[in-house]
């Protein structure tokens, strides 16, 4: 494996990790505030569909992005309404969101475009195009460090950079602001927050809406950045892998980034090396390489991660004592 191949794998890793990072941070906001959310998948799917559909209809990827974010935040608001205002079961509400998104996108897509649930292929301004950094070509000629700049860092769509920047922003928001302190407190001990005169419901609604916003970015990236159009069920379990990454990361932003990059890396390896021959061991079959991300998820969650303690009030609707 030469140096340039490693760079290319890492490049692929960044592309594949971006939707996971968005979804994982989305889950982080929601769960830190005490609202479990297994509807990440559904919100991403809805956003993927509406961003691609509106981008296809208007020819503008930015309008598409707005539509995707709106769709995702509406679903987030429904989840919030069910689990905060009506104090319903958060898992059931999340499952319902997933069902709703999966069925709704296929149905609306079929009625709208008559292409069997997919949107037309996007082109030109209808999708996010890679951004080349300035002087990428000339800097790329510098040995060793050059390719890192020109191949690895340059040439992604804007949403990949947004995903990476969201990580420090999330850390700052959660750990350095008053809003963040309250948000974490409401996930650990809502009674104390309530006693302090801060509205538990309002805080949780804000967290859930941020979750919707981030899921929306992730979904829009899938349909308009990574692929060029929506296909049925295109999220393919990414929302659930993001949830696994969230537990793996113990609900911390920096670890969430590492976990998502790891999953992205494994996927990139599996795509590039379908058959790896190791001296003395023989050939590792392609099936094993493709299953590796999932096997590792189980191994990591079962043993390596240590004790992952979720926010204490997570999953519990808050009922004011009367």
């Amino acid at each position: 494996m030469d140096y340039l191949t490693i760079i290319q794998i890492l490049d692929s890793m960044l592309r594949l990790s971006a939707p996971l990072i968005f979804a994982c941070l989305a889950g982080l906001f929601s769960e830190r505030s005490g609202i479990f959310d297994i509807g990440l998948e559904g919100k991403m799917l809805a956003s993927a569909f509406f961003s691609a559909a509106v981008a296809a209809a208007t020819g503008s990827v930015w309008l598409g992005l707005m539509a995707g974010l709106t769709a995702s935040m509406i679903l987030a608001a429904i989840h919030g309404f069910a689990s905060i205002t009506f104090q319903g079961n958060q898992l059931i509400s999340g499952v319902a969101i997933n069902f709703l998104a999966s069925g709704m996108t296929a149905l609306i897509g079929q009625n709208w475009f008559r292409l069997g649930g997919r949107t037309p292929s996007l082109s030109g301004d209808g999708r996010f195009l890679p951004i080349e950094f300035p002087f990428a070509e000339s800097i790329g000629k510098i040995p060793f460090l050059g390719p890192i700049y020109s191949e690895l860092l340059s040439g992604h769509t804007i949403l990949v950079y947004v995903a990476l920047l969201t990580v420090p922003f999330t850390w700052w928001l959660l750990f350095k602001t008053r809003f963040g302190l309250r948000l974490r407190a409401v996930g650990e001990n809502p009674e104390a927050v309530d006693t302090g005169g801060v509205s538990v419901s309002f805080l949780r609604y804000r967290a859930v809406l941020i979750c919707g916003l981030l899921c929306g970015l992730g979904g829009a990236y899938l349909a308009t950045g990574m692929a060029a159009g929506f296909i049925r069920d295109m999220t393919a379990g990414k929302g659930f892998i993001a949830l696994a990454a969230l537990i793996f990361a113990k609900w911390r932003p920096a670890y969430a980034l590492y976990a998502c990059l790891l999953f992205g890396f494994l996927e990139a390896i599996a795509i590039r090396y379908q058959n790896i021959t190791i001296e003395g061991v023989g050939t590792i079959p392609v099936q094993f390489m493709q299953a590796l991300p999932y096997i590792l998820t189980i191994v990591i969650l079962a043993g390596l991660v240590g004790k992952a303690i979720p926010p204490k009030a997570g999953g519990e609707p808050y009922v004011k004592e009367r």
Partner: protein
Amino acid sequence: MKIIKGTFASLLALLFMGANLFAEPAIVFDIGGKFDKSFNESAWNGAEKWKSETGGSYREIEIQSEAQREQALRRLAEGGSNPIVMTGFAFGSVLDNVAPDFPDTNFAIIDFVVDQPNVKSIVFKEHEGSYLVGLIAGMTTASNTVGFVGGMDIPLIRRFGCGYVQGVKAANPDINVIQNMTGNDPSAWNDPVKGGELTKAQIASGADVVYHAAGGTGVGVLQAAADAGILGIGVDANQNHLHPGSVLTSMLKRVDVAVYNSFSEGMDLNTTIVVLGLKEDGVGYALDENNQALISAEVLEMVEATKASIINGDTVVHDYTTDDSCPAS
């Protein structure tokens, strides 16, 4: 989720079936869906052509999961459809069980041989068509590296790949061919994101022509090729128009003709094994206004000569499925 969808679909199907007792033909599409711009869409085009020419009507089911294969066939047969055409090798084992239960109904299966008295099996010599597009790719590549992206890893798709490699090597034995498969289950037919990533990886390794045999996944392959400014090669249907100027050619597999003929034969379906190759115009390569500029007169001449030589038997293209191995790689 899928189960609920499936039950609902079959209930609906049942409702519609009961109302109609005339022998209409029917078609069942595989999981890629009838708008995969490739295999299933080609089948659908054939059915639509029959419909517009004869004014008849037909029934169709797009299955969503493995479990629906048998359900769909039984519902259609019970509803009196005749003949019932299904697209895809994956129906093979199911049809083998279903066909004896409906001796008065004729079935036609594409891409698989089912040995039952009431089944017409239509198979294509994809290796011959793939050989020709491989030859074009081999004569076009400037980097001496070309790629192949298959859908689900099955012998049928290996047959595409093997024919392609033989064609490439016929143009120049030193050309390196990178081969990848998308996955091991039917979802590999409908994963453009992964198709795009595989293509990007091949491009990074130097490929400047990439051929796909991956149904809906191929949409992502051709997209990635067009984005990177290299050439893609389409499959099954003529995909030259998807990215004009960036699709070198398409390996045509006339699934549409197979469906059209089966529908036309109607109740008198010729229940034998039909093998369609270059000779029968069952496979070929696409040349139209979108790729004219990409294929030089020299290449065209060579390809036509090779085509004639395959048809008269002078050039023999090895079929992967006969011995599960490929002489070239």
